[in-house]
Subunit: 303 residues, 2 copies
């Protein structure tokens, strides 16, 4: 198998995912749970080499373009946030120090909104990829995940953003709270009921959450219904708070399944026109765009 | 030191606390982290004996009156919930099986509300203790803790209740979520700001939570301010949802410091008349009342 021209990497809090590309063709793929959350600064290069070391030809520098939390303060190298409003990608990428001379690692900077304070770290690349695929697109993008993001895009720039702790909270509640005794599996009816309740009375969230436990104890409620309802309550409450973003707008939802489908279903309840887009595809398109920002040099030979 | 006449026990999810009493006088006290959450059914008796074994005279049965999660489905013995409206204590206590003949363990049943589904398990005893100390009291009782409870009491009965996951969520967020990087300590101004924001726009909770992280990153916000603001946001959102309970009412807050003080301060913002009461004192008064429900037998001699 031929060596990749370059390597694309999405380095989040919990996972590292890498793709080896020849032009825009993916020829290798690997991933690990060596997310930024588990690593000290000196751990990043070994974690990357563990996945791509075998892909790198000797006597040659392979560029690696990285998006995500690896560019945060606790990451490999701090890539200072760029301030909104701005294009999702722009300015120089930030080079991380490598011992292995076969690597040249470039990190994509995240975005910041000064007031109300908010940050985007990784999603800017998916947004850029989406705009490459949909030139001239104006509207609202929703990026569900650990920390879901809503962004307003106009004339190729991210104008405003709003993040929610929804995904992380769902994970903590369903795995580490008292609710873990009551939730397992998935039943669509539970999700629909949760969305309706969360949307209608979002301020009651903390009480509704306890009701999942109480219904489990008193009514022996189906754990699949309960888990989907928990998800629905939280997404419904998020939609209630994000209403200024989606009301009267078209929304592009970018993420992984089944989460994208859940958000699309919830938004569909309110007749919002929604399109669904795969996060990996957008990430790769965005990283390819970021790579084009690198100075155009011939790949040097290191002897 | 003389042997206690009886033993009072508060057995929650996370802790076991026991008091040896002579009449209504506490002569011994001990506690451990052997909460119901860590124990299988056969682990309860050893966990209790580890604390009180030395207090028990031979050839004599010492009654132990227990409130809390030890009486739940995953506890020592399931004490079926009594349905609201009802007095906080009543009906027979439920006896748990003991191998050690020096022990007779009696568990106080919790309370249930059928619709909306809710349960109380341990707090009924504190409520009973409060009513013994304040006979004829009508109004609203707030019991902050892992799962904070609001109850409406009238004519000696608990009429309705509403539980919130506030305390457990605060613990998860401040210790196990991304916010743990941004919060430490306590600053009163942060609490006041959080309560005001949580109360004013409770539906924005999940977005405000992420802003704690973003402010930490972008503004280097003081972690003591941030942690108090996190607590304030959550308590403020709880108060917004619990408004039907406290509006136009007097509220007795029963719990441990500093939480009781925080709730009293937050309620004070809305000019609610509040009194503060120590949870341990109310628990002991309630368990003494529960003990009086036991059949009046002479303490038998086991030979």
């Amino acid at each position: 198998m031929s060596a990749p021209d370059w390597i694309a990497a999405d380095w989040g809090s919990a996972h590292l995912r890498v793709w080896g590309l020849s032009g825009d063709q993916v020829i290798r793929h690997a991933s690990s749970d060596q997310g930024m959350g588990q690593l000290a600064r000196e751990g990043f290069e070994p974690a990357l080499l563990a996945l791509v070391g075998d892909w790198l030809p000797e006597g040659q520098v392979t560029p690696v373009v990285v998006c995500g939390m690896a560019g945060s303060r606790q990451g490999w190298v701090e890539a200072p946030f760029r301030a909104l409003p701005c294009a999702p990608l722009g300015g120089p990428l930030v080079q991380a120090t490598c011992r292995d001379l076969r690597l040249a690692v470039h990190v994509v900077p995240g975005l910041k909104q000064v007031k109300p304070a908010d940050v985007i770290c990784g999603e800017e690349t998916r947004i850029a990829g989406f705009l490459v695929r949909n030139p001239g697109w104006d509207g609202v993008i929703c990026l569900p995940g650990t920390h879901s993001k809503w962004v307003h895009v106009s004339a190729g720039e991210v104008v405003s953003c709003q993040s929610f702790l929804t995904g992380e909270m769902f994970s903590l509640l369903s795995k580490s709270s008292v609710l873990r005794h009551s939730v397992a599996g998935w039943a669509d009816e539970g999700f629909a009921e949760g969305v309706a309740q969360g949307m209608e009375r979002p301020e009651r969230l903390m009480a509704r959450l306890f009701s999942i436990r109480a219904e489990g104890l008193l009514e022996g409620r189906d754990p699949a219904f309960a888990r989907a309802r928990l998800s629905g309550l939280m997404i419904g409450a998020e939609l209630a708070a994000a209403k200024p973003y989606w009301l009267g707008q078209r929304v592009a939802v970018i993420g992984a399944e089944p989460l994208v489908q859940h958000y699309a279903q919830a938004l569909g309840t309110f007749s919002v026109p929604v399109t669904r887009h795969d996060a990996t595809e957008m990430t790769l398109a965005g990283l390819a765009t970021a790579r084009a920002l690198l100075p155009q040099t011939k790949r040097p030979c290191v002897n």
